[in-house]
């Protein structure tokens, strides 16, 4: 029953987010601040993880190809497919649910605990719009992060293959080019765009409606991470079923 109540409250929250817009001059500054916090601030960890996981995918693929009949370019092909289809959009989104999601929940939750949200409401500010809308807009740049993650994942795979002696550069590049379906990139970006909305709104929901003190802020962050991840996985399945079958 509590799940149904939360789903209902989540959609009512979304209605509140898109009503009574904050003054543009204020909103603009908030959006830039959120881009800095949520997008720019996440680049380091995304780049690091993408590069090395791309490398690991290439090595794992190469090590599992024992049959001499399987062409060597398969390493590049498998790396490309893994990185573009799943690793960059989904795996990075799960990481972002932890990094960005817990930041959003704890910052909004702390504002709730310290009555800063009440202060906004008393002033006549639509706190939902003021706090959450800029995060949604900022995270709409999330597909750019995923583009970089795709690039670095493939670059990591290429470097691991070459310098690890698992494949030649020519084989790897051939694998990257073979059977390339541009729609797979579209599919990845459709997923990413939906995930960006989930990343902005579910952690905000748990922060905004939390009750209690500092301990509850921590609990809300954990709950937000769990539910953001669950929803990302479910939506991932749904979009894959809809777009790729």
């Amino acid at each position: 029953m509590i799940y149904l109540e939360n789903i209902g409250r989540y959609f009512l929250m979304l209605k509140g987010v898109f009503s009574k817009m904050t003054k543009w001059s204020m909103l603009r500054n908030l959006i830039f601040k959120e881009i800095d916090d949520l997008i720019i601030g996440s680049m380091g960890i995304v780049c690091f993880i993408s590069f090395f996981v791309g490398g690991v995918v290439a090595i794992q693929t190469a090590l599992n190809i024992n049959n001499p009949l399987i062409p060597k370019y398969l390493v590049g092909f498998a790396t490309r497919q893994s990185v573009i289809l799943e690793f960059a959009p989904t795996f990075i989104s799960i990481i972002m649910a932890g990094k960005v999601g817990s930041f959003i929940t704890s910052s909004i939750g702390t504002m709730r605990v310290t009555e800063q949200i009440d202060a906004l409401e008393v002033m006549g500010v639509n706190s939902l719009n003021y706090l959450i809308f800029p995060k949604i807009i900022a995270l709409s740049l999330y597909p750019f992060v995923i583009t970089i993650a795709m690039f670095l994942g493939i670059l990591g795979g290429w470097m691991a293959s070459i310098y690890g002696g698992f494949s030649t550069s020519a084989d790897f590049v051939q694998g990257l080019q073979i059977d390339f379906i541009p729609f797979h990139v579209t599919y990845a970006f459709v997923k990413t765009f939906v995930f960006s909305f989930i990343l902005a709104t579910i952690p905000s929901f748990y922060g905004y409606y939390m009750k209690g003190g500092a301990l509850e802020v921590g609990k809300a962050s954990t709950t937000a991470f769990v539910w953001t991840s669950v929803v990302i996985i479910l939506i991932n399945y749904l979009i894959t079923q809809l777009l790729l079958t």
Partner: protein, 276 residues
């Protein structure tokens, strides 16, 4: 009062409005089936410092948050200047809220903003004045609450008393009709508490604001309580002035207010002086 070049006519709300007051009619509020407010009725007059007192758990904060519109009472109505809050549209409610100033118990300053930005926040949000005029107004109210050199400090870099003064400055920057304060003296030393009390009363008098204060502080009750509402177990148990509270024989009030020997003595001296 300090002189200021600020043009008050450009503010969205003017200070001189006649007979502004808050009327509370039989409000009831429950949480999880537990009735916290059990039918409270009272009025808060314009230009007066109204105090709501009572033991912890008596419903003071719920009462204040109901006045602010943060909680919606299940029954009863709250009228601001004759307008029933419940019947207002969302837009009208937001407009009304811009006429309210609130000083929260923990000050509720925005951590990521400096003192100056905190005070300027309502102006930036609701007025279309040039930045220089907003800055003039911020300088004026900060000077009014005796904060001169704190403009660029963050709330975390200021003391509890300074934070309370910043919160008061932020609450009055829009020239509100109604000022609400939740435990403005909590966590402050006695001297600073008196400074804050006096500041609130001066501001109430100067701007003719309807001020409602939730407090436990008996000094505040004696010093600035032009009207006192005593809540007990969600009921209004007594109301009167700080003069009348000395004379009342209402047991609930005397048990609460004169629980310390010091205040018992103060009361005896006061009553003796009256007889003389």
């Amino acid at each position: 009062m300090d002189e200021c070049s600020y043009n008050f006519d450009k503010l969205p709300h003017h200070t001189i409005i006649i007979d502004v007051m808050i009327e509370v009619k039989n409000i009831k509020k429950s949480f999880d089936g537990v009735e916290i407010l059990k039918g409270i009725s009272t009025t808060f007059e314009k230009g007066k410092t109204n105090l709501v007192i009572g033991q912890s758990g008596s419903g003071k904060t719920v009462f204040l948050k109901s006045l602010l519109g943060l909680f919606t009472p299940e029954e009863g109505s709250i009228l601001f200047d004759g307008k029933d809050y419940k019947t207002l549209s969302d837009e009208q409610k937001r407009e009304l809220r811009t006429e309210m100033g609130m000083v929260f118990q923990g000050s509720a300053l925005f951590d990521s903003m400096t003192v100056s930005e905190n005070v300027m926040f309502p102006l930036r949000m609701f007025s279309n004045q040039p930045l220089s005029e907003m800055q003039d107004r911020v300088d004026f109210v900060l000077k009014r609450v005796n904060l001169i050199d704190a403009h660029h400090k963050y709330p975390a870099e200021t003391s509890g008393g300074m934070q309370k003064r910043v919160a008061i400055a932020r609450a009055i920057v829009m020239n509100p009709k109604y000022l609400f304060c939740d435990e403005p003296n909590s966590g402050l030393d006695p001297r600073t508490a008196i400074v804050i009390d006096n500041l609130i009363q001066e501001i109430t008098d100067e701007y003719n604001i309807t001020t409602v204060i939730n407090t436990h502080d008996m000094n505040s009750v004696m010093e600035i309580g032009e009207k006192i509402v005593f809540l007990k177990d969600g009921h209004k148990a007594w109301e009167g002035t700080n003069k009348e509270i000395f004379k009342t024989d209402n047991k609930s009030v005397t048990d609460f207010v004169y629980s310390s020997d010091l205040f018992k003595k103060v009361r005896e001296v006061y009553l003796k002086e009256l007889e003389d």
